[in-house]
Amino acid sequence: MSLTSEDVEEIVRILDASFVDELRLETKRFRVILRRGDAGWTQETRTLAPEHATPSAIADAPAEAVAGEAPPAAAKAGAPVETQLVGTFYRAPNPGAPPFVEVGSRVEPDTVVGIVEAMKLMNSVHAGMRGTVLEICTDNGQFVERGHVLMRVRREDA
């Protein structure tokens, strides 16, 4: 089981009520460090190489190229996660909370990667694919139009 943003939120809720200022959690699959700061909790997460999936996907890539079938451009740059709603983009569930995802975070199709708000409608944006976040293209609090690319994900389910 991988670490989800909901897990991190739950951990932060528990820590909030404690006297703990820093938590380091490391498993075979991920490492997360949460630190209490003046403006709330900061988060560092890193997905560690799992036994399968990521290393083999990286190793396979050159082999595919040699086989003469170049990967599509979108695969090189990562597949876009777009917003369907015009509004304000948020990277975290509330100010001061750790972002839903960081570069390097593992995502599943239903992983929440951000929220777009318009007129107090909060639309949770899902990754929509399995993979790893390559790039976050939009700042917290930025206004986004429909179709705006919020982030790019290296797909692993294609």
Binding site: Q84, G87, M119, K120, L121, M122, V125, R146
Partner: protein, 249 residues
């Protein structure tokens, strides 16, 4: 909890004594196949929240409810349901609490005698066809001064219970939801503006990126965005932000 009220169709009640958040429960029920019109009601919330994860004061006696709706429309139009709900709630509160003067505040708060008495928070996920409309009403207690000054129905002399408010809201929401489905946003916008707080007054909107937009509150655009006219005559539309009127509200 007060006795469970009879709800106007299509609303069906699922009542809890205590729950974390009625919105979270409604979202869970949506994913589990619950139907349009499901209403989650809790006597008490332990993790009630408002816009941007702000704590929502949720003691027993206040109304904590969430409506599961399947509007079957584009996402940007679904945001109009906040106005639909605010208009219905304003009418419901005016019916059961005639001593109060109720107004709508952009985008979908309801004020009583100029103080916040209710909040509405809409949530949806990805491309889901459901939407959860959370409605919290300060019936017996108001939070300590927070971002917005607040009041409660009991504070203005209204003896209504949370169940009374929920029943009245469902009656009015059933009508306004159908109006919106059949005739679109225009009549909702008109009703909202007729009961709006601060129209024509100086206002400022604090945006998430730190920008503060100031101007005269000129109305709503055709989709519900807040229109602010600046001193030089320019107009800005605002889709998300905290809005304050001169005089502190």
């Amino acid at each position: 909890m007060t006795a469970a009220p009879e709800l106007a169709p299509p609303f069906r009640l699922i009542a809890y004594d205590q729950i974390g958040s009625t919105n979270d429960e409604a979202k869970r029920l949506a994913e589990a196949g619950a139907e349009h019109g499901t209403v989650v009601w809790a006597a008490e919330q332990t993790a009630g929240r408002g816009r941007r994860g702000r704590h929502w004061h949720s003691p027993r006696g206040n109304l904590h409810s969430s409506f599961l709706l399947f509007p079957r429309c584009p996402l940007h139009e679904a945001a109009q349901l906040g106005f639909v709900t605010a208009v219905a709630l304003r009418e419901a509160l005016s019916e059961i609490c005639p001593v109060g003067r109720f107004e709508c505040k952009w985008p979908n708060d309801v004020l009583c005698d100029g103080l916040k008495v209710a909040g509405i928070l809409l949530e949806t996920a990805g491309h889901a066809d459901w939407m959860v409309v959370g409605v919290g009403v300060n019936v017996v207690a108001a939070p300590d001064p927070a971002l917005y000054p607040a009041t409660c129905l009991r504070g203005v002399g209204c003896p209504a219970t949370a169940g009374d408010v929920l029943a009245a809201l469902c009656r009015n929401l059933a009508v306004w939801y159908d109006t919106w489905r059949m005739r679109g946003f225009a009549p909702v916008r008109e009703a909202w503006l007729a009961g709006a707080c601060g129209l024509g007054r100086p206002a400022e909107a604090r945006l998430a990126d730190g920008e503060v937009v100031k101007g005269i509150f000129a109305g709503l655009d055709a989709g519900g965005a807040l229109l602010l006219t600046s001193a030089d005559g320019g107009q800005r539309s605002v889709l998300a932000g905290d809005v304050f009127f001169a005089g502190g509200r």
